[in-house]
């Protein structure tokens, strides 16, 4: 069927800019935060635009951990306290010209337990098989794949690590229909179907993702995170947004994240990383 496209005016859509928080914190690491602002839907957002002083309040399990002005450098600042497992943290940030924000999340207790079983060479790619040992507690998993290798530019090369696309058609991914059989560098699944047991899973990797535009991968890195419920839902919504409005293919994303009066997410995870050499 023939399709055509044309530009249409946005109209008089009212826009109110908000503070955006990107704070993904690994258990046992310092609490770090990136703040930025939202823009009109035809604007180009940036994560490093904001600089200046922010008034920051951090509470741990309801008790004040930090309460002071802090210098924001290109959107980033760090609170010099480690995120302790099973603790609940609350973050409040006031930055001039934006509504003050408030967010709360808890740090997961356990690191995921898994081992890479094997990497099988196939015709056009590889199949990576790993075995996950799921604990009894409820867990939400965030699976990322990276390729480490050399990026060649003429005769020069540089060691780089890149997000690596894969297809994960294991049935545990069907909890989210849009994840299955779709190239992506990350996927999400919960442990409803694993239920505290051991489970082998496989990921398919296309050679074109390992070797392209001067990049030659030598190692595959599998990073599995046990993420908080907040982080899980946040990423799930990102996956499901088709970026199409109107018509049968439209999807509207739920209000993302856990930032009161703002956007983005303040969340925690624990992770385990395993590597395997490409034969």
């Amino acid at each position: 069927m023939v399709s055509c496209e044309k530009d249409i005016p946005l109209g008089n859509e009212v826009f109110k800019k908000k503070l955006v928080i990107n704070s993904f914190n690994r258990a046992d690491s310092f609490l770090s935060v990136n703040i930025s602002e939202s823009v009109n839907i035809l604007g180009i957002p940036s994560s490093s635009k904001l600089s200046g002083d922010a008034k920051v309040l951090v509470l741990k399990d309801g008790l004040i951990l930090f309460n002071d002005f802090i210098k924001v450098d290109k959107g980033n600042f760090t609170i010099p306290f480690k995120c302790l497992r099973q603790s609940v943290y609350e973050l409040q940030v006031a930055f001039e010209g934006y509504p003050s924000i408030r967010a709360k999340d808890s740090v997961p207790l356990l690191d995921p337990v898994f081992e890479i079983d094997t990497l099988i060479s196939q015709l056009n790619g590889h199949k990576l098989i790993f075995e996950l040992n799921d604990p009894v507690q409820r867990n939400n998993y965030y699976l990322q794949l990276f390729a480490k290798g050399k990026q060649w530019n003429g005769t020069d090369s540089l060691e780089v690590t890149k997000a690596l696309n894969y297809i994960a058609d294991d049935k545990i991914f069907i909890s989210n229909l849009l994840t299955i059989s779709r190239d992506n560098s990350f996927s999400l699944f919960d442990d409803e179907l694993i239920n505290g047991n051991t489970r082998k899973m496989s990921l398919k990797i296309d050679n074109s993702d390992l070797y392209r535009k001067g990049f030659v991968a030598s190692e595959i890195i599998l990073k599995l995170s046990n993420v908080s419920e907040t982080m899980y839902v946040y990423y799930l919504n990102l996956l499901e947004n088709t970026h199409v409005y109107g018509g049968p293919l439209a999807s509207t994303s739920r209000e993302n994240g856990n930032i009161d009066q703002g956007l983005g997410v303040f969340c925690f995870y624990s992770n385990t990383t395993r590597k395997v050499k490409i034969p």
């Binding site: 399709s3 908000k18 604007g43 015709l123 997000a163 058609d169 049935k171 179907l193 496989s202 018509g247």
Partner: protein
């Protein structure tokens, strides 16, 4: 001045009565000195119109008898007694003279009387006659005007046959003949003679319904009709009285109803028939043809989009007939071999096939004049398949396959028995089943010498209903027709069934996840009375329905009132008030990312949707033009909306993702038909607003429904320069409907990379550009020695309007973000050829 002779010959020089019978008789008394004896209630409320000069008393009294359904007798030369006429009920069947098929929705009027009756879907009618001889005038837009004179004595049943006409207007919404404006409570479309082609030249039976005031498309890509701002699931579409759950093909491009097998379509927007009062917006009652009982007929057509064949004829002459038809789109049949040919020597092959089909079958048996049995069956659906295969003659003999499919099916089967128990009582018994299911699946397999894997997953959703009904029509006196009935419906809903299969040299998994099936029952009883009075009628009734769903019973009373009154011969006023409830609904699919329809029942927490509607319409007819103007207002409670961003398909807690609230819609509807010699024109305009208020959506403030399309206009101009050639011009316009677009963008981090995320602060916050297109077509009909042919050629969307399908953010020529609209269906040809033997 009166010249006195014998009483009956008394002459009246001039008489002009335009008042009640009471006043008219008083006037005659003054002119003739003849006194009248009558009961006050007989003459006080009866109006009449007599304008005569140089007449006699006898002629005047005869005219009064005709107009007022009273009789008279001379008590003596100065006294006339006026009393109520005594009559009898006669009933009859209206048949097509050529095929003996029953003619529904024809208007039958006793000559000289203002009251008319309309034949029901079985061609049956009943009349209260008071004269010894009766002269009937029968009007139906597809048939030649019929007149039938007969003596009443000894007759109770009439069999009247009409000859079809060869050519008619495109949309026969208004009654052309009737001396007064028809008292029908519905809009009627007769697709068998409506040749308005649409996309590809298809003559779609439901397409003409969209041209009526108050009716609109959802939008391209979404299936169904929007009637007075209500959603597509709020329309109750019936095929021979059996509900059909999905009525459109290929993302709403055309309906499942093949024009060649449809007898008539009735659209009820005001105070629906109590029997069918189970949706909030409309009842679309489609009757299929019974089949020719005298000779076999064949209709075959071939077009750009689809081809079809319809066959009907007698099995036992005049008793038992059949009608079958099949239609299929064939883009896949043409493109798949081409795709294979192109990929012939390639290791990598891929095919995509999109098709739809319809299969209808009907048996109609009339063993005698008082009984008939019909059996209706339908199966149809859409299917999209895509396959890829990579086959290499390497040392591993590698074969990699992937397949995907999405499709839906309707399957219905029903039987109806109509029996005329007496001239006053008709009985209908019916049993039917209707099912709808949707399935999508994908499959991937890799086979090598020492390595194999096979993965597949599927998703199925559906519902099945079993319906039993008994209905009784009782003409309990000459001015009242009582309709009553009971029925039960058993529903089984399957919200989802997901199957996952994986087999490889590493593992084997075969798992099916099934959500709890939901069994629901609906029981109803209704009583509705139609009272006729001079120049009008009033229908009032109530339907009581009980719906049993999981751990909850709902009982709802649904009253209705519809008053139709002819103010004069050229003007009519109608008023409707009704309450409707809906126990099953289509889940709003804003967030699924797939064009799927999922039907689910109300639950303990999701209460039945309800709508209270007030409507009124004024119709005025002049010599060549008929104009109607109406207003409506609807108030909804428990209306459903999908919570923004929630996932429906994933678990048993689907109802938690639905929110309910209130809503309202209101508007103005205008329709006009103009006929002048070879030119006829039909135009409609609708102003319609549809709004919702739901807690947790748009901060609980009132917002626009996705079906809010303030203005819509439809126009058809037909120019028939011969009885076999005509030019059709069709234009339709509708304001764009509201959609949800993001209000802001921001950066987040995924896999260490910055990703742009959209913020959806409010739903339905952006109105799409308007949709409009102009279609021009030429129809040529010819009679050949052995067959008749029809040829359609034309252009769809003549000026290539880019109508909206979806919106997304893209990049303009200056590499800046911009809102982009994607459109399908540009200017396209129409071509269809059909023959009838």
């Amino acid at each position: 001045m009166v010249s006195a002779q014998s009483t009956t010959d008394i002459k009246i020089n001039s008489l002009d009565c335009k008042s009640t019978l009471h006043e008219c008789l008083d006037g005659i008394s003054q002119k003739t000195s003849v006194k009248f004896n009558y009961k006050n209630d007989l003459v006080n409320n009866v109006k009449l119109r007599i304008k005569k000069s140089n007449t006699t008393l006898l002629e005047v009294l005869d005219e009064i008898r005709n107009q007022c359904e009273v009789d008279y007798t001379f008590v003596n030369k100065n006294l006339v007694s006026v009393f109520e006429q005594k009559g009898i009920f006669i009933y009859g069947t209206l048949l097509d003279a050529g095929s003996s098929d029953r003619i529904a929705d024809a208007t039958i009027q006793i000559s000289g009387k203002s009251r008319s009756v309309v034949t029901d879907k079985n061609g049956l009618f009943r009349l209260y006659v008071t004269n010894d001889s009766v002269d009937l005038i029968i009007y139906h837009p597809n048939y030649q005007l019929g007149r039938s004179k007969f003596l009443v004595e000894g007759k109770r049943h009439l069999l009247i046959k009409l000859d079809p006409v060869t050519r008619l207007n495109a949309v026969e919404v208004f009654n052309n003949y009737s001396s007064e404006i028809s008292l029908k409570s519905f809009d009627q479309v007769n697709p068998s003679n409506t040749d308005l082609p649409t996309l590809g030249g298809e003559t779609d039976a439901l397409n003409n319904v969209k041209l009526l005031p108050g009716v609109n498309n959802v939008t391209f890509g979404e299936q169904g009709l929007v009637v007075r701002g209500g959603g597509p699931d709020q329309n109750y579409t019936l095929m021979d009285g059996i509900p059909v759950y999905n009525t459109f093909h290929l993302l709403g491009l055309y309906s499942i109803f093949n024009a060649s097998i449809v007898n008539s379509i009735k659209l009820h927007k005001d105070a629906f028939p109590s029997k069918y009062n189970s949706r909030l917006s409309s009842v679309v009652d489609v009757s299929l043809k019974n089949g020719n009982k005298k000779k076999t007929e064949l209709i075959a057509d071939i077009g750009i989009l689809s081809s079809g064949i319809a066959l009907n004829g007698p099995i036992i002459k005049k008793k038992l007939s059949y009608s079958i038809s099949a239609r299929r789109t064939y883009a896949d049949v043409l493109t798949t071999p081409l795709q294979r040919l192109v990929d012939k020597n390639e290791p990598n092959t891929s095919t995509t096939a999109l098709w739809s089909y319809d299969l209808f079958a009907k048996l109609h048996f009339q063993p005698n004049k008082n009984n008939q049995v019909s059996l209706t069956a339908y199966n149809g659906g859409d299917q999209l398949n895509f396959n890829t295969q990579l086959e290499l003659n390497d040392d591993k003999s590698t074969v990699e396959r992937s397949r995907g499919a999405i499709g839906w099916r309707n399957l219905i089967l029903g039987i109806n028995w109509n029996s005329t128990l007496s001239s006053r009582v008709f009985l209908t018994l019916g049993a039917s089943t209707s099912g709808y299911n949707l399935k999508f699946s994908d499959e991937y397999s890799l086979t090598q010498k020492n390595n194999f894997s096979d993965n597949s997953s599927s998703y199925i959703n559906g519902l099945q209903e079993l319906r039993l009904a008994a209905d009784l029509d009782i003409a309990w006196n000459k001015k009242n027709l009582l309709k009553t009935g009971i029925g039960s419906v058993n529903y089984i809903f399957s919200p989802f069934e997901r199957r996952y299969f994986s087999s490889s040299n590493l593992n084997f998994i075969d798992t099916t996840l099934i959500s709890h099936q939901i069994s629901s029952q609906e029981y109803y009883i209704y009583v509705e009375n139609k009272s006729y009075f001079q120049g009008g009628n009033i229908v009032y009734g109530v339907r009581v329905a009980q719906f049993n769903t999981t751990k909850k019973k709902y009982v709802r009373f649904q009253p209705k009132l519809l008053l139709i009154q002819n103010i004069s011969k050229i003007s009519q006023l109608r008023f409707g008030l009704s309450v409707a409830n809906q126990f099953v609904h289509l889940v709003p699919n804003n967030n699924l990312g797939l064009p799927v329809d999922i039907w689910l029942p109300v639950t303990k927490t999701l209460k039945p949707m309800s709508a209270t509607q007030l409507s009124s319409k004024y119709t005025h007819r002049l010599q060549k033009i008929q104009l109607e103007i109406g207003i409506f207002s609807k108030f909804y409670t428990n209306i459903l909306e999908h919570e923004t961003g929630s996932q429906l398909l994933t678990d048993d807690n689907w109802e938690e993702n639905l929110l309910s609230g209130s809503g309202r819609s209101y508007g103005l509807e205008v329709g006009a038909k103009y006929t002048l010699a070879k030119l006829s024109m039909y135009s409609s305009y609708t102003l319609s607003r549809s709004k919702r208020t739901i807690e947790n959506i748009n901060e609980g403030l009132e917002y626009l429904s996705k079906y809010d399309r303030p203005h819509s206009v439809s126009t058809i101009i037909e120019y028939a320069w011969t009885s076999e050639d005509k030019l059709l011009l069709s234009f339709s316009y509708a304001s764009g409907n509201p959609i949800t677009i993001p209000t802001a963008r921001y950066i987040t981090i995924v896999n260490g990379e910055e990703v742009v995320v959209e913020e959806f602060e409010k739903i339905n916050n952006f109105r799409l550009p308007s949709t409009h297109h102009l279609d021009i077509s030429y129809l040529r009909e010819r009679s050949h020695k052995r067959f008749n042919s029809k040829f359609i050629v034309g252009v769809y969307n003549v000026y290539n309007r880019l109508n909206p399908f979806m919106v997304f953010i893209g990049i303009n020529k200056e590499a800046e973000p911009t809102l982009k609209l994607r459109s399908y269906l540009p200017i396209m040809p129409m071509l269809k050829y059909s023959i009838q033997i």
